[in-house]
Amino acid sequence: MLSVHEVTRVVDGKALVDRVSASFERSQLSLIIGPNGAGKSTLIKLLSKQLQADAGSIAYDSTNVRAMTQRELAKIRAVLSQSVELSFPLRVWEVVMMGRYPHFAGKPGAADERACQEVMRFFDVADMADRNYLTLSGGEKQRVHFARVLAQIWFSAAGRCRYLFLDEPLTFLDIYYQFEFMGKLRELLKSGDLVIVGVVHDLNLAARFADKIVLLHQGRVLASGSKAEVLTRENIKTAFRLEPTLFHSDRDAMHLVFDV
């Protein structure tokens, strides 16, 4: 479980993230939404310890992130970002193997090889193993990137949760791969020890897949909870300055339409 208590991050006198508290449970897909400048990116960077909080505390299980080194953290925490460009040509399997770097010194062990093979099959990139990453299409690159990041936390860590953060990784994927990726996350969550917290822009994607939603507005939590609790007309209007029409279809799905 990931617990966030009164976390604040100030830049140039302005609180980008202002006393945010939240908790993210294992086996749940938690998504952070909000308008531009609401502090989503900053919050996810604080959670993954890319940035340090100016006040408040963040705990992985019960360990404060301040007490953990980046090396320790890298074994149980992975971050999927928007897109990754390589500066030099590498083969796809070399890129995926980088995800295992925190786990071995020198040569990769059998477990590292196995993790790479499994994760490449899981994300359907095994056929590209020997191709040059720089010659792939944008969508292919992103899937290789998914495989690399998941390779980092592919095996359960003894007695600890694993943490996956999503920093808008779906931005450059078409709708098919967006849905496919969300489906894969659901599959991964079945392991029972995985905490996933992500930032997404697409409200309908959040409405379709999130177990828990945190709505940020001006650096603060405007609402948090289930989609029914958070995705109300009032909340959306306050945060996004547009009034949505909400549709509920069968299978517990919600759809937001902005008909301005």
């Binding site: 993954s48 971050v79 040509p89 980088m98 995800g99 980092q152």
Partner: protein
């Protein structure tokens, strides 16, 4: 099974190529040693090496040419070529930019400035350390210019992704120090100006055992440290954020790599002058052979850098025989078209 095939390769990034490079280096070094006004036979080499330990004073003239001129020069070629190539790998990896040279952070222009100061003002400054004066002046110049680049970039850009600003400040400081070199050449008397020009083009004719030993120490220690960080440099190919997510201490990595680069490049340059293009082209040649894994690039650069500079030295000695061309002219003149041809090839994409 395809995956198993690639798995095998991942275990040994060096397999196949490094032994070939090592043999090629041996062949070209021996060829270089034999070549010259006096041909050194294998028998001379063997007898000289044996006498060196048993009776150092009984060497005949051919053996002395081998021990005192050809061998140190060949070793200097190997070590300096390796230094420049390793420096190129490190800087390209650090800046994540394929067009970066080891001198980028001010090292070689600073060294050229230090050397020029020595040529023009050396007699006035009363700074004497015998045959070491020039190397010390060059080394200090290189270190000072690099330190300046760092100080400015630390104070000017407290933002996180500072490699771009480091690169730009490096370009500015290079321009500044080269203008200093230009000024010194302008005020210099003719023989001094000629020394500056010659040094700026690089030469290996002054190689001796002591300089060889010092360059060997620098490149040896530098390579060991660099190899320890090769994986972190791989992770850095994806950017500073991704490297951090993989547990790399990016700030420390940068500092370590630049320090290693400055030491090996400044030391090598201080004895030979500025030799361009080797540090740029060797990493590219290696990437064409076997991708961009820095573990392979660093080991490969040791050998290929040595091969390239030895080959260039042979050309420099042969082209205008009996006169000798500055080696920097050869590396640039041959390196530039080769480089362009490589980039136009279809296999190599950025």
């Amino acid at each position: 099974m395809r995956l198993l095939g690639s798995q095998d390769r991942s275990f040994s990034p060096y397999a196949g190529i490094v032994p070939v490079l090592a043999i090629a280096l041996l062949v070209i070094a021996v060829f270089s040693i034999r070549l010259g006004a006096v041909t050194v036979q294998f028998a001379d080499m063997a007898s000289a090496l044996i006498k060196r330990f048993e009776a150092p004073n009984s060497l005949n003239i051919t053996e002395r040419i081998f021990m005192e001129i050809r061998l140190p020069r060949a070793l200097a070629c190997i070590l300096v070529g390796a230094s420049l190539a390793i420096g190129g790998v490190l800087m390209q990896a650090l800046f994540r930019n394929p067009i970066v040279e080891p001198g980028l952070v001010g090292t070689s222009s600073g060294a050229a400035f230090g050397a020029s100061l020595y040529f023009v003002l050396g007699s006035v400054l009363k700074f004497h350390a015998g045959e070491w004066t020039l190397p010390i002046a060059a080394c200090l110049g290189g270190a000072a210019a690099t330190a300046l680049v760092f100080l400015i970039s630390e104070t000017a850009s407290p933002n996180r992704e500072s490699t771009t600003s480091l690169l730009l400040i490096g370009i500015a400081i290079n321009a500044l120090f080269l203008s200093g070199v230009g000024f010194l050449s302008y005020i210099a008397r003719d023989p001094q100006a000629r020394s500056i020009t010659f040094w700026s083009l690089g030469t290996l004719s002054g190689a001796n055992w002591r300089s060889v030993a010092l360059v060997a120490a620098a490149i040896g220690i530098g390579t060991l440290i660099a190899l320890r960080h090769a994986r972190s440099l791989n992770a850095l190919m994806m950017g500073e954020d991704e490297a951090l997510y993989l547990g790399v201490d990016v700030a420390r990595l940068k500092l370590t790599i630049i320090a290693v680069n400055v030491v090996i490049v400044a030391v090598a340059t201080s004895f030979t002058g500025v030799i361009s293009f080797v540090g740029l082209i060797v990493p590219h040649l290696l990437r064409l052979m076997r991708g961009s894994d820095n573990r392979f690039l660093l080991v490969g650069a040791l050998f290929l850098g040595a091969i390239v500079l030895t080959a260039a030295d042979i050309v420099a000695r042969v082209a205008l025989r009996p006169a000798e061309l500055p080696i920097g002219i050869v590396t640039s003149a041959v390196g530039a078209p080769v480089f362009i041809a490589l980039l136009r090839g279809r296999e190599y994409r950025f």
